[in-house]
């Protein structure tokens, strides 16, 4: 190539770059994938937010794309990323953080935090939610639709069993004692109403964390490279879960279907159920009896894992796009919007000052159960998340299910799960 041709190319390239950057300065388009995991008119709410944001920020347009369940959204985002066209912003499970980092698909937020307001904004979220959003001194996710596990109880069933309908069991021992009274058997010994259901077909590890946290044990380290499935405290927690069915006989034997647990509760087949706060609106609409919402019962300590989705920024955005996307995420997590999103969906508003807004105060005064999840956040821990997350999670789920169905002892099941987790994580040590 001659020197002259090179010059020509250089000039043409600069001109082209100037043109494209001029175009983006005028109009920035961002694609935004989001999942739906709870009931309610989610797309309508999101579209409303996006329209309001675009009105306040001319020059930025957001293409909000509903992408299915969390799992579907991850599959779509990662396959799009692998084919070179990732979304710009996506709401994905907070526990997918390590998977996304390992795929080199996402960029951290830290370099975007320049002003003091921006730095203060990052500190405005509940620390429990940030546990699943930060690793290696970097912030990879911003809390958006987050939840915890709570206990729902049927007040009529409590009254019928001679218990105080306004007081849920507060410890494991109380759960078992109350459970004996709540379980109803007919003359031939068949159970017509179980005391409690802790679902175990989906999110098995998550509900299990509701037990391990109360037993003061953590399942993994913050770096996501080590698990502690075979610790005595973990085995004890699993033994307690198994005993609810096998020894105390206050919970159905075998695994309990996640999807039909609320239905069992409505049908009065279970007097107490453990499930996500995301089901709050569903239960409020469909329970044909007065119900209460309580924190999970305590044992050595108290606690529940957090759950739900974070905002992630995919790589490949230009600086202008990143700045615009950052503006959008800040806009979506203001106290007012966090409060509105929480009220409309049942998710836990992600920052303390959202609970001081007038709208939220009114909502809580009308429906105090909504604040239980917030109060429980004090005791909340990170949801199980490691490198190669889904595979490690499956090892634990399989172990728990083996113990619940009686094919392995809790001790054997957890030792096997730990051995498998160690094998999977050996590449990340």
């Amino acid at each position: 190539m001659s020197a002259r041709l090179k010059w020509l190319f250089a000039i043409a390239a600069t001109a082209l770059m100037a043109l494209t950057s001029a175009a983006t300065a005028k109009d920035i388009t961002l694609s935004f994938y989001y999942p739906i995991a709870v009931g309610g008119p989610i797309p309508k709410i999101i579209d409303g937010y996006v329209a309001d944001f675009e009105k306040e920020n001319p020059g930025i347009s957001i293409k909000a794309i509903y992408a299915g369940t969390y799992q579907d959204t991850l599959v779509k985002a990662l396959t799009a990323f692998k084919s070179g066209e990732p979304p710009d912003i996506a709401v994905l499970l907070s526990t997918d953080m390590f998977t996304l980092i390992d795929e080199d698909a996402i960029a951290p937020f830290d370099d975007l935090l320049k002003t003091d307001t921006e730095k203060a904004w990052l500190k405005s979220f509940y620390p429990a939610f940030m546990e699943n959003s930060q690793t290696g001194n970097k912030t990879w996710g911003i809390p958006f639709q987050r939840s915890t596990i709570v206990m729902y109880w049927n007040k009529d069933a409590f009254k019928a069993a001679g218990l105080d309908p306004d007081k849920a069991p507060d410890t494991w021992d109380e759960l078992v004692a109350d459970g004996q009274k709540l379980t109803q058997r007919d003359a031939s010994g068949n159970v017509s109403q179980w005391a409690v259901e802790i679902p175990s077909t989906a999110f098995t590890y998550w509900l299990f964390q509701g037990l391990t946290t109360a037993n003061n044990v953590r399942l993994m380290n913050p770096a996501g490279t080590q698990t502690a499935f075979d610790k005595p405290g973990v085995i004890e927690a699993l033994q307690f879960w198994v005993d609810l069915s096998r020894k105390d006989k206050i919970q159905p034997a075998g695994t309990i279907e996640w999807g039909t647990t609320p239905k069992d509760f409505f049908e009065k087949k279970a007097a107490i159920m453990w499930t996500s706060t995301g089901n709050l609106t569903n239960v409020r609409k469909n329970a044909p009896f007065p119900f209460g919402v309580a924190m999970l019962p305590a044992h050595q300590g108290r606690g529940s894992p957090t759950g739900g989705g974070n905002f992630y920024f995919f790589k490949k955005m230009s600086d202008d796009q990143r700045a615009a996307a950052f503006k959008f995420v800040q806009w979506m997590t203001t106290p007012e919007r966090a409060a509105d999103w929480g009220i409309q969906t049942g998710y836990v508003a992600v920052r303390p000052d959202a609970w001081d807004t007038d709208a939220m105060k009114k909502y809580v005064a009308d429906f105090p159960a909504a604040a239980v999840a917030r109060d429980q956040l004090k005791y909340a821990v990170a949801e199980l998340s490691t490198h190669d997350n889904q595979r490690v999670t499956k090892a634990l789920n399989d172990g728990i299910q083996a113990a619940l169905t009686g094919t392995k002892t809790p001790e054997q099941a957890m030792k096997d799960a730990q051995a498998e987790a160690v094998r999977i994580l050996r590449f990340y040590q």
Binding site: D102, S188, S200, G254, T255, D264, Q390, K394
Partner: protein, 309 residues
């Protein structure tokens, strides 16, 4: 005329069959092209790419794929979940296939006879086929719900205690087998029904004059004549038993503890949940080899023993 502008017309006009010339061959290939492109793009290329991928590591982030030889295959042999899924799939296929075919044939013979409400019966047998599997699985999940599900309510009449059908390792796979049989039997019934109506009634008459009983007539006359249909149905049933996993995704997610994990479901998990695409390719190769062997066996062995009219 032989050198005319339209070779095709020239060929048909020629008395003796001429040698196919280059342009004719070109025409032929051109006509095959659309089908060939589709086959290559969606069948042959993915197959070859899968086999190649199974000898490489999974590309992750900045780590590109490297050639690892038979590592993936070795890992597979040591993977207990793979063996579990394979064993489950064999049990599943070995139950679903004969049950579906037997039920389809029985239903076809029944609705082929002169009985009251025949159109209604045919319709109701066929209905499961037109429902999407996802919807079917969601309905059946509530049939199996412990306590208030249809199954427990029916059994409750006889005083049987409630059972956690999908949550018990000893019953979960059986429950899924029942769904699959229910879903496919009506579809295969249609083929048997069509075949039964093609059979000449004289054969049955001749047999009865010879003094053959109904069972003997079915065994020695009807069933052998239905063999071409049976082969077709058998191939489809085998493919379905390895291909249809929608109900597993909805009903059990492979649980409890992999009791209901079938091979394709496990491939989906490895590929799209664990993102271990290389290992998923390895598992896919096993599935391909398995199905290829079955297909070869069918066409080479069974086909010879079937009487086509």
């Amino acid at each position: 005329m032989m050198h005319g502008a339209e070779p095709a017309a020239a060929m048909s006009a020629a008395a003796a069959p001429p040698r196919p010339r280059l342009s004719t061959q070109f025409h032929g290939w051109l006509l095959l092209l659309p089908a060939a492109v589709l086959l290559v793009t969606f069948t042959h290329y993915p197959t070859v790419a899968t086999i190649i991928d199974s000898f490489f590591s999974t590309p992750k982030g900045r780590r590109a794929a490297v050639f690892v030889g038979a590592d993936n295959y070795q890992a597979m042999l040591g993977d207990p979940v793979f063996w579990r899924a394979l064993a489950n799939n064999i049990v599943y296929a070995a139950s679903v296939i004969p049950l579906t075919i037997a039920l389809a044939l029985a239903m076809a013979i029944w609705v082929n006879g002169k009985i009251a409400g025949r159109p209604f019966l045919r319709l109701s047998f066929f209905t499961p086929t037109v429902l999407p599997m996802i919807a079917v699985a969601n309905i059946w999940q509530f049939f199996y719900a412990p306590g208030y599900g249809l199954l427990d309510q029916l059994l409750g009449v006889f005083g049987t205690p409630a059972h956690n059908w999908l949550g018990d390792q000893s019953t979960a796979l059986v429950c899924l087998i029942a769904v699959a049989v229910w879903k496919d039997a009506g579809f295969f019934m249609i083929f048997y029904l069509a075949a039964l109506q093609q059979l000449s009634p004289q054969l049955a008459e001749a047999a009865s004059i010879e003094g053959a009983g109904r069972w003997y007539c079915f065994r020695r006359v009807t069933f052998p004549l239905l063999m071409p249909t049976t082969l077709f149905v058998l191939i489809n049933a085998i493919i379905n038993s390895f291909r249809l996993i929608d109900h597993i995704v909805v009903m059990t997610q492979g649980g409890p503890d992999n009791t209901t994990a079938l091979l394709l479901f496990y491939i989906y998990e490895v590929g799209f949940k664990f993102w271990d695409t290389a290992y998923a390719a390895t598992l896919t190769v096993v599935l391909l080899v398995f199905l290829a062997m079955v297909a070869l066996g069918q066409f080479l062995i069974l086909d010879r023993r079937i009487h086509y009219q």
